[in-house]
C-alpha cells in the first residue's frame, strides 16, 4: 500500500509554485503585489487543508513520515511563508524583479523544509535539505542591483556546499557502521552494538554535527550567517532565520531522537559544548553590531544556543520544549522582521542608527519592535520568557542544570544589545526632515496580530504546548 496522499500537500504546493511562476510569464503586466497575496492565500489554503492530517500517522515507503511532528512543522513553515509573502509585497514590487520566481521559490523552500521534518531516512533528509538550500541560494542573491546580495549568495553556496560534503562524509561513515540509512534501522543497529567501529561512528557523528551545526548556525560553524543575513533581501533574511533554522532543528531532532538515542553519551557533550559556545559568542559579538540585520543574525545565533540545550538534554520534555520555543521564536522573529521590513520600505534604512526617533515617527512600529525585542531578551509575559523557561526547566530536569544556568546568564547579556535598538527608537529625537512614516494597513494588521501572539504565548502557552507535546510523542 503506497500512501500517496501523504505527499499530497507538498505536491499541491509544488503545483502552486509552478503556477505562480507561469502566471508571471503569461501576464507580465500583473500587479506584483497581487502575486504576493496569491502566494499567501495558497500557503494558507494548504495550511488549512493539512490541518486535516492532524493526529494521523502514516508513512510513504518509510521515507516520508506523516505524523503530528510533520504537521506541526508544516503549519509553522506555511504560516511563516504566508506572512512573509505579505510582508514582501511592497519590497519585491519596488526593489526586485521576477516576482513570480521569488514567490515560487518561497513555496519550494517550504517543501524542502517540510520534508526535512518528515524524512525518516538519511538520503531523503539530505535531498530535502538540499532542496531548501537551493531555493535559499537563489533567494539570497535575488537582488541583482545590490552587490552585497550576490556576495552573500556566493559565500552561502560555497560554504554550504563545503558543509554538505562534510555532512555526506559523516553520513557515509554512519551508513558504513550500521549498514542502513533509515532512522529506525540505524537505531536497531546501534542497539545491537557496534563493537570495534565506535571510533568510526564518533567521527561520523562529528561530521554530521558539523553539517547540521552549519545549517542551524551553531558556533563555530556559524560564520556564514551574519554575511548571508546582511546581504540577502530583508524578507529572505527573515525566511532563513525562521524557516531554515526551524527546518534544521526539525531534522536534527527527529534524526537524533529516532536514530542516535542509543549512543547519546557519545554526542551529548558535543552538543552541550556547541550550545555553550553558541550562547557565549552569539551574545558577545552581537554587542558590537551596527546593522540591524547583522544584529538579528547574531541574536538568532544565540537563540540557536538555547535550542541546542534541548537537543543536549534530549527527552520527550525537552523536545516538546524545543518545539514550543521554535513556535514562540517564529512569532517573535516574524514580528521583528516584518516591523523592520515596513521600516525599510518607508525609509530604506537598515542601520541601527537609522531607527532613531522611530517612536515619534510611527509609534505602532516602534512598539511592535520593542515587544519583539523584549520577547527575544526573555522578559516575562512575553513569549521568549515562557518558552525559554520551559526549555531551561526541561534541560535542568534531565541533568543539564549547569547548561541551563549558562543559558540564564548569557541571556542577560542579550538584553543589553536589544536595549541599544530600543534606545535609538525612544530616547533619541528623529533627525531633521524625518517625518512620520506610512505603513500599509495589511502590514499593520499582521503586526498587531503577531504582537498579540507574543503575549498570548507568553501568558497562556498551553495550546501551543499541547500541540508541541503531541507532535513529539511519537519520537520517543
Amino acid at each position: 500500500m503506497n500512501h500517496y496522499e501523504v505527499l499530497a500537500p507538498e505536491l499541491v504546493l509544488l503545483g502552486l509554485a509552478f503556477a505562480l511562476v507561469t502566471l508571471e510569464l503569461l501576464f507580465p503586466q500583473l500587479r506584483k503585489d497581487l502575486v504576493a497575496y496569491l502566494t499567501a492565500a495558497s500557503a494558507i489554503g494548504v495550511l488549512v487543508a493539512s490541518a486535516f492530517f492532524a493526529n494521523r500517522s502514516d508513512s510513504f515507503k518509510d521515507l516520508i513520515q506523516l505524523d503530528n511532528y510533520t504537521t506541526f512543522f508544516r503549519i509553522l513553515f506555511l504560516g511563516t511563508a504566508a506572512l512573509l509573502a505579505i510582508a514582501s509585497a511592497h519590497l519585491v514590487r519596488d526593489k526586485l524583479s521576477n516576482a513570480g520566481e521569488y514567490y515560487g521559490l518561497l513555496l519550494l523552500g517550504v517543501i524542502g523544509a517540510t520534508y526535512m521534518a518528515a524524512a525518516s531516512e538519511l538520503l531523503t533528509a539530505y535531498i530535502a535539505l538540499e532542496l531548501l538550500n537551493f531555493t535559499l541560494y537563489v533567494l539570497v542573491s535575488f537582488d541583482r542591483k545590490d552587490p552585497r546580495s550576490g556576495e552573500a549568495g556566493l559565500k552561502y553556496i560555497l560554504l554550504s556546499a563545503f558543509a554538505s560534503a562534510l555532512l555526506l562524509f559523516g553520513i557515509s561513515f554512519i551508513f558504513g557502521v550500521t549498514g542502513t540509512t533509515s532512522y529506525a534501522g540505524i537505531r536497531h543497529a546501534l542497539e545491537a552494538g557496534i563493537g570495534e567501529y565506535r571510533g568510526t561512528l564518533v567521527v561520523g557523528l562529528v561530521l554530521l554535527l558539523t553539517g547540521l551545526g552549519f545549517k542551524v548556525a551553531a558556533v563555530p560553524f556559524h560564520m556564514w550567517t551574519p554575511d548571508a543575513y546582511e546581504g540577502a533581501p530583508l524578507p529572505v533574511t527573515a525566511y532563513i532565520s525562521i524557516v531554515a533554522k526551524a527546518a534544521g532543528f526539525a531534522l536534527f531532532l527527529r534524526l537524533f531522537s529516532q536514530a542516535f538515542m542509543p549512543v547519546i553519551s557519545d554526542w551529548r557533550w558535543m552538543v552541550a559544548l556547541l550550545a555553550a559556545l553558541t550562547m557565549v559568542f552569539g551574545n558577545l559579538i552581537a554587542l558590537q553590531q551596527v546593522n540591524i540585520k547583522r544584529l538579528l543574525a547574531y541574536s538568532s545565533i544565540s537563540q540557536v544556543g538555547y535550542m541546542l540545550i534541548a537537543i543536549a538534554a534530549l527527552s520527550h520534555d525537552s523536545a516538546t520544549a524545543l518545539l514550543l520555543h521554535l513556535g514562540g521564536y517564529a512569532i517573535t522573529n516574524l514580528a521583528a522582521f516584518i516591523a523592520i521590513i515596513a521600516f525599510y520600505n518607508a525609509t530604506g534604512g537598515e542601520e541601527i542608527r537609522d531607527f532613531r526617533g522611530l517612536a515619534e515617527r510611527h509609534a505602532g512600529l516602534a512598539m511592535t519592535l520593542t515587544i519583539a525585542l523584549f520577547s527575544l531578551a526573555g522578559m516575562p509575559l512575553f513569549a521568549g520568557f515562557m518558552t525559554k523557561f520551559i526549555l531551561f526547566q526541561a534541560a535542568a530536569q534531565h541533568g543539564l542544570l549547569w547548561l541551563s544556568a549558562f543559558g540564564v546568564v548569557t541571556s542577560m547579556i542579550s538584553l543589553y544589545y536589544y536595549l541599544m535598538v530600543i534606545r535609538q527608537m525612544y530616547v533619541l529625537k528623529p533627525r531633521d526632515g524625518d517625518g512620520r512614516l506610512r505603513v500599509p494597513l495589511l502590514t499593520s494588521a499582521v503586526l498587531v496580530v503577531l504582537a498579540l501572539g507574543i503575549f498570548f504565548v507568553g501568558i497562556w502557552p498551553t495550546p501551543l504546548f499541547r500541540a508541541a507535546a503531541s507532535a513529539t510523542r511519537l519520537l520517543f
Partner: protein, 641 residues
C-alpha cells in the same frame, strides 16, 4: 467564604491592572479621567488591603487556606498560580497600596501639564498591579515574573523623561544592573525546582525547615535569591543604579525607589526567611552585606548636595539596615523597619518634590530658608527626618531599636560587627538628614533655579505647594509618627509570626531601655552636629550671639570647635578623607567594575568580531577547525579500542 476572600485578594491585584488596560485602550485622549481611574483603582486596592489586614489581625496572621491553581501543565513541569495571604503579606499590601495611593494623589498636581500625563498614570497602575502581584504570589516563579515586571515599570518610569539623556542612561543602567542580580534569582528558581519539584513557597519552606533539602542546595538557592535581592534592593555592590534612578519623576522615586520596589528585595528574603534560616552561611552573608551597605551608603549620603541623592543614599543605607536585621535573625524587626521606612521615606521624597516644585531644582545649595514659605512641607519633612534619625517617639525609633537589639542578642563576631556598624549608621543618618533639613529650610533663600527641573515649576518667590500635594504629605506624616507604636506590645510581631512555621516564631523582644536611650543620644548627637555645622554658620550673627552666646563662645572661640568640626573634622577628615574616599571608591571602583564588566564583554565581542573578516576561507577554516577539535576531544577522551 474562602472563595469570596480569595476573590477579594485577587481584586487587590486586578483593580490597578484593569485601570492600566482601561487607560491604554480607552482613555488615551482623556488625561483627567485617566488620572481619576488610576486613583480609584488604587483606592479600591487600598480599601481591600485594609480589609485583608483586619482579617489577618483577627486570625493572628495565619495564612489563608487558598489553593494554588494550575496555569500550565508542561510534562513534569506544572506552573501554578495562586495568591497567598498571611499577616506579612497583608502588611506589605497595606504599605504598597497606601503609599501608592498617596503618590497617585500627589502626582495629579506634580505631573500636571506633562505631555505624557496619561502614560504616567498607565505605568503607575501597571506598577501597582505588579507590585501587589509580587506580594501576593504564592510561588517563586510567579514571584519572579512580577519581580521582572516591576523592573520593567521602574525602567519605564526612570526613563519617563526619556528625552533627557541622563534619565535614559539611568533607566538603562538600573535595568541592566538589577537584571544582573535577577539572573541569579532565576537560576536559583531553576535549581530549587530541580531539587524539590515545586515552586510553592510554603512547600519549599517546609522542606527546607524539615531538613529535606541538602544544606549545600539551600545555601546555593539562598545566595541566588539574595543576589536578586541585592540588585533590586540596591545593596552593595549593585547599589550604583539607585542614585542615578533619581532622574525619574519625584513621585516615582517616592513610590518605587524608596517605599516599595526597592523593598521587594527585603520582602523576598523575609518571605523565604525559613529557607535562609536553614543555612547559617547564607544568613551571615546577608548580615554582612546589609551592614556594609548601611554604613557605606550613610557615609556617602553625608557629602551629597542634591537632596534626592541624599535621600537615595539614605534609602540604600536603610535597606541595608533591614538586610542586616534579617541576617541576624531579626525577622520581625526587619519588616517593622520596612513598614516604618516606607512611610517616612515616601514622605521625605514627596517633601523634596514639593521643595523642588517651588524652587525648580534639587540642589540644596540653591535652596535655603524655605521653612517660612512652606510651613507644611517643612513641618512634615522634619517629622520624616526625626523618624529616619530614630528619635523617640517617632516610628523609626522603634524599629531601628529592635534591629540593633536583634544584632546585639545575636552575638558572635557577625552580631557585634553588625551592631557597631548599625550604631555608627544611626549617628551618620541623623547627621546627613538634618544637614539636608538645615540647608534646605533654614537660612536665607538662595534663589532656586528657573531652568532646571522639567518645566515651568520654578518661580521667583518660594511658595507652598497646592493642597493636593501637601495633603499626601500630611497623611504620610501621621503613620511616620504613629506606626512605631504598632509593635509596642508585640502585636505586630504576632501578626508577622503567623507567616512562619511554629518552630521559627520569635518571642517579642520588648524594649531595652538602656540601648534605646543610648541610640537616641547617638542620634541626637548627629542632629546636634548637623545643627552646629549647617545652621549656626548661616544664621545671622546677631541672633546667634543672643541665643547661643555662652555655648558659642565656649565651643567655637575657646575650643576652636568650628575649625575642628567644619574645617578639620568635617571638611578634611570626613569630606576629604573617609567620605570622599568612599564616594570615590564607589564611583570608580564599584561603578567601574560594573562598567568594566560591560567593557570587557564588549572588548571580547570586538575581538571575536575581527575573526569575521569577510573571507570565505577564514570561515571554512574555523568550521573545519571546530570539527577537528571536537573529533580530537572525542577520540582522546574515548580512545578507540
Amino acid at each position: 467564604m474562602d472563595g469570596f476572600r480569595e476573590g477579594f485578594a485577587w481584586a487587590i491585584f486586578s483593580a490597578p491592572l484593569v485601570s492600566f488596560a482601561l487607560i491604554l485602550l480607552i482613555l488615551r485622549r482623556y488625561p483627567r479621567q485617566a488620572g481619576y481611574v488610576a486613583n480609584l483603582a488604587v483606592l479600591i486596592g487600598f480599601v481591600l488591603s485594609i480589609w485583608a489586614l483586619s482579617v489577618e489581625i483577627s486570625r493572628d496572621g495565619a495564612a489563608m487556606p487558598f489553593h494554588a491553581h494550575q496555569w500550565l501543565h508542561a510534562g513534569p513541569l506544572t506552573i501554578p498560580f495562586g495568591v497567598h495571604l498571611d499577616g506579612f503579606t497583608a502588611v506589605m499590601l497595606v504599605v504598597v497600596t497606601s503609599v501608592s495611593l498617596m503618590v497617585h494623589f500627589y502626582s495629579q498636581a506634580y505631573m500636571d501639564g506633562d505631555e505624557h500625563y496619561v502614560q504616567f498614570f498607565a505605568y503607575l497602575s501597571l506598577f501597582t498591579a505588579s507590585m501587589t502581584g509580587l506580594v501576593l504570589a504564592d510561588n517563586v516563579l510567579m514571584l519572579y515574573i512580577f519581580w521582572e515586571l516591576v523592573g520593567i515599570c521602574s525602567y519605564l518610569l526612570i526613563g519617563f523623561w526619556y528625552h533627557r539623556p541622563a534619565a535614559a542612561a539611568a533607566a538603562k543602567k538600573a535595568f541592566i544592573v538589577t537584571r544582573f542580580g535577577d539572573m541569579w534569582f532565576l537560576a536559583a528558581v531553576l535549581l530549587i525546582w530541580t531539587k524539590t519539584g515545586t515552586f510553592n513557597i510554603a512547600t519549599i519552606q517546609e522542606a527546607a525547615h524539615a531538613g529535606m533539602i541538602s544544606t549545600a542546595v539551600i545555601t546555593l538557592f539562598a545566595l541566588g535569591v539574595f543576589a536578586g535581592a541585592i540588585g533590586k534592593s540596591a545593596q552593595f555592590p549593585l547599589h550604583v543604579w539607585l542614585p542615578d534612578a533619581m532622574e525619574g519623576p519625584t513621585p516615582v522615586s517616592a513610590l518605587i525607589h524608596a517605599a516599595t520596589m526597592v523593598a521587594a528585595g527585603v520582602y523576598l528574603v523575609a518571605r523565604l526567611f525559613p529557607v535562609f534560616e536553614a543555612s547559617q552561611g547564607a544568613m551571615d552573608v546577608v548580615a554582612i552585606v546589609g551592614a556594609a551597605t548601611a554604613f557605606i551608603a550613610a557615609t556617602i549620603g553625608v557629602v551629597m548636595t542634591d537632596i534626592k541623592r541624599v535621600l537615595a543614599y539614605s534609602t540604600i543605607s536603610q535597606l541595608g539596615y533591614m538586610m542586616l536585621s534579617l541576617g541576624v535573625g531579626g525577622y520581625v524587626a526587619a519588616i517593622f523597619h520596612l513598614l516604618n521606612h516606607a512611610f517616612f521615606k515616601a514622605l521625605l521624597f514627596l517633601g523634596s518634590g514639593s521643595v523642588s516644585h517651588t524652587s525648580g531644582t534639587f540642589d540644596m545649595r540653591k535652596m535655603g530658608g524655605l521653612r517660612r514659605a512652606m510651613p507644611w512641607t517643612y513641618a512634615t519633612f522634619v517629622i520624616g527626618s526625626l523618624s529616619l534619625a530614630g528619635i523617640f517617639p517617632f516610628s523609626g525609633f522603634w524599629s531601628k531599636d529592635e534591629v540593633l537589639l536583634g544584632a546585639w542578642d545575636r552575638g558572635g563576631w557577625v552580631g557585634y560587627l553588625a551592631f557597631s556598624l548599625g550604631m555608627l549608621v544611626v549617628f551618620l543618618t541623623a547627621f546627613y538628614i538634618f544637614r539636608a533639613v538645615f540647608i534646605t529650610f533654614h537660612g536665607e533663600y538662595r534663589g532656586g533655579e528657573r531652568e532646571a527641573g522639567h518645566g515651568a515649576h520654578g518661580s521667583g518667590t518660594p511658595h507652598e505647594s497646592p493642597w493636593i500635594m501637601v495633603g499626601p504629605l500630611v497623611l504620610l506624616a501621621v503613620p511616620s509618627v504613629l506606626s512605631g507604636f504598632a509593635n509596642i506590645n508585640g502585636g505586630f510581631g504576632t501578626l508577622l509570626n503567623g507567616a512562619l512555621p511554629p518552630a521559627l516564631r520569635e518571642a517579642h523582644l520588648g524594649v531595652n531601655v538602656g540601648l534605646a536611650a543610648f541610640s537616641v543620644v547617638v542620634g541626637l548627637a548627629g542632629v546636634g552636629l548637623a545643627y552646629l555645622t549647617y545652621d549656626l554658620q548661616v544664621v545671622s550673627a546677631e541672633a546667634l550671639g543672643r541665643t547661643f552666646r555662652p555655648a558659642y563662645v565656649f565651643l567655637w572661640n575657646k575650643w576652636f570647635m568650628d575649625e575642628l568640626y567644619e574645617g578639620i573634622l568635617v571638611r578634611r577628615v570626613l569630606y576629604g578623607g573617609v567620605c570622599a574616599g568612599l564616594a570615590w571608591f564607589d564611583r570608580t571602583a564599584v561603578d567601574g567594575a560594573v562598567n568594566g564588566a560591560g567593557a570587557t564583554a564588549r572588548f571580547a565581542g570586538s575581538m571575536w568580531r575581527r575573526v569575521q573578516n569577510g573571507q570565505i576561507q577564514a570561515y571554512g577554516f574555523v568550521l573545519v577547525g571546530g570539527a577537528v577539535i571536537i573529533a580530537a576531544i572525542a577520540l582522546l577522551l574515548n580512545p578507540v579500542r
